[in-house]
């Protein structure tokens, strides 16, 4: 419960934040703190300087453009995502996933940017952001750059955000008529997900475009390319969805932990993938709690 000594600063602007981060290799961004503070409490890791960006106006806006694309400030809380009307119109899935994330208390403080930067294999947004083809906007001394979600997640608790950089925003392309599915499995209501799957399927019939992404099965979200190419050009059928499962986990060897063996996790990833694709095809839909 008791953190190691650390320093704290709450910069007034993004520029100041970048300066603070640049000045100290041991500095880290503190947003909602709903993951970071717990890690520090157990002294599993320590941080020299916490740079609190949670109140930076530049990081807290939700802008939905006329074309249906959205730009979400990295320090936007789950609660804000859950209640954003524009986002509900453009990308309802973002709010739905937010609404099922952990609990009210965490949703009031936790941020989508923090979730992405935590980059835990069990985190809820990474697979979804990859499936939606999101771009992540990173600012640093060198200016601002955009990284595709697929290239953003480098490994467990590591992302493309380098030393001295800050994740500023998450940009979502317009959904058009595409369907999105998101599925997640936990042992209990408040536990780590064992398997997650997100699916994005274009409006065409036969299917013209698809992205299927798994979570919890490796250090980073895993793109199920085999499923995607099988789906594209095929019918929007329940059978297509059912077949997606086995195909999605081909060649995967997920890790084991106290909650699930790798084998079970693999089997569940297949089930979640099939269901998510089914949801994206509009065959079924479930709004479930999706754990931590």
């Amino acid at each position: 419960m008791l953190l190691a000594p650390t320093e704290y600063v709450r910069p007034g602007s993004l520029e100041e934040a970048i300066d603070e981060l640049g000045a100290r290799p041991g500095a880290r961004v503190l947003a909602g703190g709903q993951s970071l503070i717990n890690v520090l409490k157990h002294r599993a890791a320590s941080v020299e300087l916490l740079v609190d960006v949670s109140r930076l106006a530049e990081l807290r806006s939700i802008d939905v453009a006329a074309d249906g694309s959205a730009r979400i400030g990295a320090a936007t809380t789950y609660r804000e995502l859950e209640h954003s009307a524009p986002l509900r119109a453009s990308h309802a899935i973002i709010g739905r996933v937010a609404a099922g994330t952990v609990d009210r208390q965490v949703r009031a403080r936790g941020t989508i940017g923090g979730n992405a930067c935590f980059a835990d294999p069990a985190s809820n947004y990474p697979p979804l952001l990859v499936a939606l083809g999101a771009e992540l906007e990173i600012a640093g001394r060198g200016g601002t750059r955009s990284v595709a979600a697929e290239d953003f997640f480098l490994g467990l608790w590591r992302t493309a955000v380098g030393p001295g950089e800050v994740l500023v925003a998450i940009k979502l392309p317009p959904l058009g008529g595409a369907g999105v599915g998101y599925r997640s499995l936990q042992i209990a209501a408040d536990s780590w997900a064992l398997a997650r799957a997100a699916a994005w399927v274009g409006p065409g019939d036969p299917i013209d475009a698809a992205r299927v992404v798994l979570g919890c099965v490796a250090g980073t979200p895993v793109r199920a390319s085999a499923v995607e190419s099988k789906l594209i050009g095929g019918p929007r059928s329940a059978q297509a969805a059912a077949e997606a499962g086995a195909l999605a986990v081909e060649g995967l060897d997920p890790p084991s932990d106290v909650h699930a063996s790798g084998g079970y996790r693999r089997a569940m990833a297949a089930v979640m993938a099939a269901r998510a694709v089914g949801d994206a095809l509009g065959l079924a839909e479930e709004v479930a709690s999706n754990g931590r």
Binding site: A44, A45, S46, A119, G155, W157, V258
Partner: protein, 146 residues
Amino acid sequence: MSAVSGSSTVAADRERLWQVLSDPAALGATLPGVDDVFVEDATHFSALARPATALGETRIHMDFEILEERSGEYVRIAGSGRAGENRVELNIELHLADAPSGGTAVSWRGDLTLRGVLNSLMQRGASAIFNEQVEAVLAAGAAGGS
């Protein structure tokens, strides 16, 4: 206890890479997140490793012993250390071979054991972080060697 393994191909040629890898002091100097490298003798050295993630750094004081080596191709290392009240134990072997397309192909395999509450907290991630550290060492070795 979790198994660790991986492989990567680095630009440096085998002899040069080996030279750097087998010189902890020089290596330590070029390594990100490794300080206080102290070489006791030909087979014993210690270091403060600070694997860095988005969540900060975990400071691990490690003592290493080179158990077996065949110059330029193979080394087996045992390490033990502590992170706060937790303990870390490590057994790893590295194989070096000339990569067909030039450079050196390195593969490693071993096991990593965390003991203490850290083990419960890091069970999903310890081996992944370790493998990334090895890649960092090789990269640094390659850099030092090229």
